[in-house]
Structures are given as C-alpha cells and as structure tokens.
C-alpha cells in the first residue's frame, strides 16, 4: 500500500495541496475551520504526521535534489559537478534523480519529493513533459524549483539556459560557410524549449543565406535509439541526402557517426556534422567532432547559487528570471578536413 501524501489529502478534501500544506503547518493564512477539517481528514486517512516536513521546519534536510532526464549525457554530469561545488560550500548534499526522459517517471519522482525530503530542486524537464501540474504541486508544497537547460516557460521561477537561438544560428551558419548546400536538422523533441530555440536559430540562418527549407531534412528524433538510427540512415541514403547535419543534442551526433561508419559515408568529405555537445571525447573521435559547447558546469553552479539564495530567505516562490550563459563554437575535424 502506498503512503497517503499531501496530494491525496488535497484530492479527498477537494482543496489545493498548498492549502493542505499550510493548514498542517498551522499557517496564519488558513482559517481554523479549514485547519480542523484538514487535520481530521489527515487522521482518518492515516496520513503519517509528516515526519520529514516536521523535521524540516526545525532542522532543514540539508539536501537538494537534481531531477534530470538522463545521466548518459556529459552536459548533465558537468552540471551536477557545478551544482555540487555550490552545495558543498553550503553544507548540502545533492540527490540525483534520473527521469529517463519520461514524464511519468518525472511525476513519480516529484510526488516522492512532496514529503519534504529535500529543501529544493534543480530540474531539467523530460522531453515529453507538456503539462506541469506535478511541478506546480511541488512548488505549492513549499519546495522551490530552479530550472536549467530544459526549462518550463509556463512556471514562475529562475531559469538558466544557454543562448540556444544564437548558437543554433551560429552552428548552421558555420555549416554554410564550410560549403554545405543541404543542411539537415536533427530534433530531439518538439516539446522542448531548447530544441525549439535551436531549430529557430537553424531556420533563421537558412533564411539569411536564402537556403530553401526542406521539411524532409528536419528529422524528428526521439529517445528511441533504434528508430533514430533508422531515420538518420534513411535521410543519409536517400536521393535528397544532406551534405551537412546539425544535431540538436550529443546523442544524435553519435548515432550519425555510427550510421556513417556502417554505411561508408565519410565525415567531413561526404557529410559535415556539428552538434550541441559536452562530450569529453569529442577531440578523440574519428574525425574529431565540431561542437557547440555549453558552459554546463557554470550553468549548474548558477542554478544552485540562485536556489541557495532563496533557501536562505526561506522563500519557496522564486521570482521569474531568465539567466543566459553563452555557449562556444569549437571547430574540429567533422566540419574541417584540415583538422584531424
């Protein structure tokens, strides 16, 4: 049997999680009648007297969570390091939760955090997250969230990103300047803010240089590696094949490399490749990979800094703020035949 939580209570009482939470905390904002109702219901439903949250009010959990789509991505690993540096300074531990890029798992994790086992959350949303109730509930329960990278525009809080539009533009223009005539864009999810902005940058650069946009060259990939491999192979072996690929995320560039290797497509001679990536081995690949390198460590650091600033003030609503830290273009062999 799963444990009764704030959400279950709120549902049973037909009031908001926020009200339940405040009632149990004996907040001045809630009337006595409501408090009594909430406490009675909590008892009848066997809601355990919230040991974590009680603990928290007296002594903080000294823990924050990072909720991330995947760990097999150097961007997130570097962001963890950045956040850890700040957590350590503040005497905090970081718990890492991986959603496997799945909205259901993400909801389950945030639900699990409702009991207050952490003081705050740094989060990058899953690529199929398009509704945000589970995120709002956590904030209403008094646990602040700071977004980084894959953000939710719809939620009021601090958001740390890189200059995705400008970097998408730069990446595409670099392919054009390297001689590409037909440039494909590999998208990871249409729901993701970062993907949308990178694609807008791609489209803008194509427009600037009077390139025709070919919808067939905008490839909608997903978290399914097998299907991505098939889609990439299909365009690279079609009549209408591109001579340049801009991968929105690292994983898709690696799949492109695998497809090229298996099908004897030479990078950069037959196909030039550029990707958003923080791969440690970008330099050691065959050929070395031209990347848009994000300041992942700095982004993690900044996200944690803002969260701790607000934790110190014991504020759970963080005012809306957009912080942008710029990425850098690193030109390597996959777009330049003179570099090994």
């Amino acid at each position: 049997m799963s444990k009764v939580n704030l959400k279950d209570l709120a549902k049973a009482l037909n009031i908001s999680v926020s009200t339940v939470s405040k009632a149990l905390r004996d907040s001045y904002e809630i009337g006595d009648e409501t408090k009594k109702k909430v406490i009675a219901k909590a008892q009848s439903m066997g809601y355990s007297p919230n040991p974590y949250a009680g603990f928290l009010r007296n002594q903080k959990s000294k823990t924050i969570a990072m909720v991330l789509p995947e760990l097999t991505n150097n961007y997130f690993i570097q962001a963890i390091s950045g956040a850890e540096a700040i957590a350590h300074e503040n005497g905090y531990h970081i718990l890492i939760y991986a959603t496997n890029d799945d909205k259901e798992k993400e909801s389950g994790i945030l639900n699990h955090l409702l009991n207050g086992r952490v003081d705050g959350v740094l989060m990058s949303v899953s690529s199929n997250t398009s509704q945000y109730e589970h995120i709002n509930e956590l904030i209403q329960a008094g646990i602040p969230i700071v977004f980084f990278d894959r953000i939710c525009h719809e939620i009021e809080t601090a958001k740390i990103t890189t200059n995705d539009f400008a970097s998408g533009f730069l990446a595409t223009e670099h392919l054009i300047q390297s001689g590409c005539k037909k440039i494909a864009y590999l998208s990871i999810s249409e729901h993701l803010s970062i993907d949308h902005k990178r694609k807008q940058g791609y489209l803008e650069a194509m427009n600037k240089h009077d390139f025709t946009i070919d919808e067939q060259l905008i490839v909608q990939c997903s978290t399914d590696e097998k299907s991505n491999t098939q889609k990439i192979k299909k365009i690279l072996t079609s009549k209408n094949k591109p001579d340049g690929i801009f991968a929105s995320v690292e994983r898709l560039a690696l799949t492109t490399y695998q497809v090229c290797k298996r099908n004897n497509i030479s990078i950069p001679n037959d196909l030039k490749v550029i990707s958003f990536s923080n791969l440690r081995t970008a330099d050691l690949l065959n050929p070395s990979l031209t990347t848009i390198t994000q300041p992942a460590f700095e982004i993690g650091k900044e996200a944690a800094t803002i969260l701790f600033k607000h934790l110190a003030k014991r504020k759970s609503i963080i005012p809306n703020e957009n912080i942008v830290i710029n990425s850098e273009l690193s030109i390597r062999g996959s777009t330049n035949p003179t570099i090994k």
Copy 2:
C-alpha cells in the same frame, strides 16, 4: 550547527552506534539501565527523536542510495541503469551520491545516511578508502550495504565484481599476442581491490610469457588528471618507452589517447592500447579502442536484487558472498591495425 546523530551519541556515551540504535528502538537485546542512559543523553544533547528512523520502522523510506566514486564513467552510469530496473520493480527510488573518489566525502555521505533516509545502500568505494569505520557504522545502524566493483574485502556482505584477475590476464596476453614487447600497466590506486586484481593478472601473463617485469612501466596514477597526463607523457617519450599499454580504467586510456595525439604517437603502430572500459564511443574513437567490457548493467542489477532480497527479510546483515559476472574482450583498432 550540525545535527546530533547516532554517532555523536555513541561517542558521548562511549558505547557502540549499534547499542545506541538498538536502545532507541527499545530492542530486547539492550538492558533497561542502558536504555535509560541513552535516552537521557539523547535528550540532553538535543538529539531529535529520529524522525526518519521512526518513519522507517513503520513505513519504509522506499528509497535506496547508490554511493559511487564518479559519474563521468560509463561503467557507473550503466550500473545505475541496472539497479534502477530492479528498484522500479520493487517500487523504490534510487538516490545517487557521488564521492568524487574521495574518502572524506564518502564518510560525510554515509554519516548523512545514518539517520535512515534510505533503507539500504549499493556502494563502490573511493580509491583512497583504506579504513572502513564509516561503512561499519552504517551497517550497525541497521542499513545494509551491498558492494559492487570497488569492494571492501574486510566487510561481511554480498560483493559483486567481474573476473578482474582473469580479465587483466586476458588483456595483457592480447597485447603480447598482438606483438607488444614492452607492456606498461596504468594503475589507478593501490588501495583498490579491482586494481590489485587486474595488476596481478597483468603480472601473471607477463610471467607466463617470460617477460621481464619493469617497475618503471607500472605507472601509479591517481584522480589528478594533470599529474596522470605528465606521468603518461613521461613514459611514452622516455628511452624505455613501452609499445603496449594496459589501462586499468577508462579514464587513463582517454588520457593516453590525448597524450598520443599531442605528441604524434600513432596508435596502434607505435603503441597498442587496451583498457577496461564501458565507453559508448569506444567504437568511434580514432582509432577505435580495444576494451575489456564489463557487464555493468548486469552487475548493478545483481547488486540491487540481492539488496532487495534482504530488505524484504528486514535483515541488515547480509551474509558474505562473492558473485562474479564475467567481462568480455572486444578487439578494435587500438590493438589491431586492420580494424578502423
């Protein structure tokens, strides 16, 4: 001010953590006098009435921790995935803690877990961990640990590893059969069980083939990338330079690749390289990297399976058991010039 925990109480009372823990749990094993003393001390020191542990006895935390040396290592990322598959089946969440391969941080994390925020721990120790008090305390506090990969022989519990000795032997023999005459071994830490066994395998293969052991070719590396780079560069540019390198861990193989690239040393012509590694991009490196590939996913799965079996029985002491899941040799371009 940091919170008073079981360990602080035990120290103040000059009795074991285990006794304190049992006294507070009102265990039949502890006499009334001791219980009274413990409770009095707990009150006087402001020990909070252990909300997590109280919570746990009635309703489990439904959470386990994985305590790992580093996240920038595909082995551990794959082990997490394996453990998560089992945790998910059991309705559990996994918290990931990174020790950054540092014993001090490792101690801090286990201390943090003493309050019972998790039901059990899967652990791979830091490379500088040579004393185990912090690990014993956790087990005595009723939180079982299962080791995998970097294990502690000194502690009674289940331990999941790969066939490190046989794989070290196989790796070295593969270099010999590929024509190497002078083979260096890159060690990551003399404290680590896995490193010791891999090195023994190396020495045994050298002996079998009547190769002289040259102590200068056994390079003691560390977690300091800069120092590793210098050490590897030094042997690769010395008069006594090796024509084969066996890297005990992935990170050292990548450093070797970087050093070779910068110093125009051609792999595999001038130097053949083999490494324990679960790198996703092993196949895409220049040249592709010959690896001893560990069944990391399976190892994580097995470790979690054993932990959950014991959690179900509510036993905190897991009987000693050594489970070995074999690695595989994947021959690629770094030891064979005919493979790209």
